[in-house]
């Protein structure tokens, strides 16, 4: 079993010749199988793998009392797991309380975990063994040549027929695209329907409970979320009715007559609730400053300035919905939004 080696080249591995003792030979103890140190039998024993390691040593090897103590500790850990597992069963039967389940489950894992680790630390051999990393990292040159030969046997044959390769390339492209077609069944073509909501001329604004709204229902400084009657599930349609009361509301020339003036001020105005940044509902309204904030990314819109963004990442004003009062005194839309609501997209322009 013993292997001797002749090792004279200096500086080959970490230790250098000094530690090989100058005689250039290292004696491997009898009965030592080099395989257990990552060394093939017959191969020279490397300088950076000590030959005299006690790789069977464990912590309490020479301390029978300590070993017995460790054994008892580890056993106690496993008994803890045993008890906790029975506890878990009992908890399940009796009401399945979440906290008690957490205690039992946690303790069961804890007992096993601590037990395993103590067992490994105190009673198991093989700490701090030094072995060779072996020859696995790279292959010898002749094997590299061999694999290149194997590869070229096929690739040479293929390269001789460029026409076949070209057709195959074309097939790969076209067939690849063809196999993607089933994916088109996943959804409809976008077309331009991101640009429209369900609001139309004369459609009543209703609350989340489906109740139509009269201007009198909205005291100054109030705000409510409304949806187009009959289209409650249109996720782009949520609209905020805000009564700014007598506060001066800047009416953009193109938006003349889109609000319901009151008390000499802007009165009731309607803006899309869908943030122009990333589409969250802009739902936090500051009644003192007439500012609307989206809690997702802190975009802030000044309602009195036609819902212009005054802070945060939103790049555009919230679109305004033209509203008026119908013959029965309820708030209705004059038309759909005049521009796409919500976040941007390529074709929005």
């Amino acid at each position: 079993m013993s292997t001797t080696r002749d090792w004279t080249e200096p500086g080959q591995v970490g230790h250098g010749p000094a530690e090989t003792g100058g005689e250039g030979q290292r004696r491997v103890p009898a009965g030592r199988n080099p395989r257990h140190f990552g060394i093939d039998p017959g191969e020279p024993w490397p300088d950076d793998v000590p030959v005299d390691q006690d790789d069977g040593h464990w912590r309490y090897q020479d301390d029978p009392k300590g070993a017995r103590r460790a054994e008892r500790k580890i056993g106690a850990c496993f008994i803890l797991t045993l008890l906790a597992s029975m506890g878990l069963a009992a908890v399940y039967v009796d009401g399945a309380n979440t906290q008690l389940a957490g205690v039992c489950w946690g303790l069961a894992f804890l007992g096993l975990g601590v037990g395993f680790i103590l067992w490994a630390r105190d009673l198991m051999p093989g700490h701090q063994v030094t072995a060779s990393r072996g020859h696995h990292s790279v292959s010898p040159e002749e094997e590299r040549v061999a694999v290149a030969e194997s590869l070229s046997r096929g690739t040479d044959a293929m390269a001789r027929r460029p026409f076949i390769l070209k057709t195959l390339g074309a097939v790969g492209g076209v067939f690849g695209i063809a196999t993607l077609f089933p994916l088109a069944s996943l959804g409809p073509r976008p077309k331009d329907n991101l640009a429209y909501t369900s609001w139309r001329k004369g459609i009543r604004a209703v609350t989340l409970d489906g109740e139509p709204v009269r201007p009198d229902d909205m005291p100054p400084n109030s705000i409510i979320t409304v949806l187009p009657e009959g289209h409650m599930d249109d996720a782009l349609a949520p609209t905020l009715l805000i009564n700014v009361g007598s506060a001066p509301f800047r009416v953009v020339p193109a938006n003349q007559g889109w609000n319901i003036p009151m008390d000499g001020g802007g009165g009731i105005v309607a803006f899309s609730k869908i943030c122009t940044h990333a589409g969250c509902p802009a739902g936090l309204y500051n009644q003192q400053t007439f500012q609307l904030m989206c809690p997702c990314h802190e975009s802030t819109f000044d309602i009195l300035l036609d819902a212009k963004p005054v802070f945060g990442p939103a790049p555009r004003s919230l679109p305004q919905l033209p509203i008026t009062v119908d013959g029965d005194g309820y708030i209705v839309a004059q038309s759909d939004y005049q521009q796409p609501v919500g976040p941007g997209y390529w074709a929005r322009g």
């Binding site: 489950w105 979320t225 940044h277 990442p313």
Partner: protein
């Protein structure tokens, strides 16, 4: 020590085990391989456990996830919550909710042990991602991504990214108000991809305009089939490559590029590693039992027109959400087309960051002109530029993460949130530069003193010898190990003599291994 009886019993066990192994070898010829498996050595360092913690939490995720999948209903169908006999969550009774939301309420309130499974699953996901981040930092700062381990760095990055998306789809499945706003944001980010790709993609994924009617069925397939398949597949490759290449180790006495020092796989490492797995389980289930997470019954069901204040993603995606918050209100509108604002912080900036991270082994190679293979790790201080860059990246990500919490921090500190956002915007530029400078100086100082970063103060320690000479501690102990100073011109292999010798060897001036 052993008695005759013990020796005889050991002999019997050996014979019995050998007989069984002979049967195996008759069929597979596997003995040589099995020896290398059982004898395999894993170096010991506490930081090497973190990757194991990621793997352990993944195992917990798989088991708790299978359990939850048996009860979850991926449907956006509108139902009225009534609860089941016995356990009813009164505030929601009579409310319109989706079937998905109702099924998660059922798991929470009616399935015995359902809540602890849900909470353990969610906590395990947070631990999984935390371990991945930490593991990634360890690999980066110690140069473990260098040749021959570049592929595993890339696989690891993919695992991080898929795990993040897996986490996102997971916490979106309950269809509660909080996660619903997150889905809306993701739709908007996808929609923002130029050349109409975004609109097409969003329409294909959601089957039309947000929120559609089919998305939860698809998200369920993604969350419980496609992503787990990718994660398990990539992790298998990750571990097989690790196994093949063997673990890296820190430099130390008697450690070389060609040897490996540590604990044998069987029995000691198996028990230690299994024990760690059990401890991860213990922590996860204690948390799952005691610490409430994602109480969707308090958030309420999702509607497109409702939102709660303080809406935030789970922590591992916070940097992305912070990016959306801190990016200025720019967007590109011209020629009748538009590149919307979310595209830049939501896709372009992450894409640039990811590109740099994927290319990092190649970049690092060029910076340090170090093309050799390495099994011994760098001490972070010995590569000040890389370490400082890593610190700058951590500051950058932390600033973005704080950005996500800007509204909550503002609420707690009474700093106006506008000011806080502006501070974080400035911090995003200035912070990494400052972090880089401090880390670079710290590395240089640590190199001079060779001190442990948290055990000794920075700066030189001077001592006087018996014959009156003065020396700076750590400058030269004559063992060629201390006093690592980066060579002029940053040639990088040479931080201490042995390392440069190793580098020469791998480059071929010195034979890489014994030539028989």
């Amino acid at each position: 020590m052993s008695t005759t009886a013990e020796r005889a019993a050991a002999q019997r066990r050996f014979t019995l085990g050998k007989k069984a192994l002979d049967e195996v070898d008759d069929r597979f010829g596997s003995s040589k391989w099995l020896v290398s498996v059982l004898d395999k050595i894993f170096p010991d360092h506490w930081s090497f456990m973190v990757g194991e913690i990621a793997m352990d939490s993944l195992i917990i995720l798989i088991f708790t996830g299978i359990y939850l999948a048996l009860f979850y209903v991926p449907s956006q169908k509108d139902v009225v919550y009534a609860g089941a006999p016995g356990h009813v969550y009164a505030p929601l009774v009579g409310q319109h909710v989706s079937e998905a939301y109702a099924s998660v309420l059922n798991i929470t309130f009616n399935v015995k042990f359902g809540l602890i499974m849900r909470q353990a699953h969610h906590w395990a996901a947070l631990i999984f991602l935390a371990a991945i981040f930490f593991h990634m930092g360890r690999i980066f700062f110690t140069g473990a991504f260098r040749k021959p381990r570049e592929i595993n760095w890339i696989i690891g990055l993919l695992l991080w990214q898929i795990a993040s998306l897996e986490g996102f789809t997971g916490y979106s499945l309950p269809d509660d108000l909080l996660s619903g706003t997150g889905l809306r944001v993701i739709y908007s980010i996808i929609e923002s991809i130029p050349f109409n790709i975004g609109t097409w993609l969003a329409y294909l994924l959601w089957g039309g305009r947000y929120p559609g009617t089919v998305f939860f069925e698809r998200m369920f397939v993604i969350h419980e089939f496609i992503f787990p398949l990718l994660i398990v597949g990539l992790l298998t490759a990750h571990l097989m490559i690790l196994w093949r290449q063997k673990h890296t180790d820190f430099p130390g006495p008697d450690k070389t590029e060609t040897n490996i020092k540590g604990t044998r796989f069987f029995p000691t490492f198996v028990l230690k590693s299994g024990g760690l797995m059990m401890l991860v389980g213990a922590v996860t289930f204690f948390l799952g039992g005691f610490v409430q997470i994602n109480p969707i019954w308090l958030y309420g069901p999702y509607t497109p027109y409702t939102v709660s204040a303080g809406a935030q993603p789970d922590w591992y995606l916070a940097w992305l959400d912070g990016d959306l918050r801190l990016f200025p209100h720019w967007e590109f509108r011209s020629f009748g087309v538009e590149i919307p604002n979310p595209f830049f912080p939501g896709l372009l900036i992450p894409a640039i960051i990811f590109a740099i991270m994927f290319a990092w082994p190649a970049i690092d190679r060029r910076i340090y002109k170090d093309y050799g293979s390495h099994n011994l790790l760098d001490r972070p201080r010995d590569k000040p530029f890389r370490t400082a860059l890593g610190v700058a990246a951590i500051v950058f990500f932390s600033d973005l993460t704080l950005g996500t919490g800007a509204d909550i921090i503002a609420n707690d500190t009474h700093i106006p949130w506008e000011r806080l956002v502006e501070i974080l915007q400035i911090g995003l530029i200035v912070g990494p530069v400052v972090g880089f400078a401090i880390a670079y100086r710290a590395c240089k100082s640590l190199q001079r003193t060779d001190a442990h970063p948290i055990q000794r103060p920075l700066g030189g320690i001077i001592y006087r010898t018996a014959d009156g000479a003065y020396h700076t501690l750590g400058e030269d102990h004559g063992d060629g190990h201390a006093g690592a100073v980066e060579h002029a011109g940053g040639n990088g292999h040479g931080d201490h003599p042995r390392a440069s010798e190793d580098a020469r060897r791998t480059e071929g001036t010195v034979p890489a291994k014994p030539q028989d």
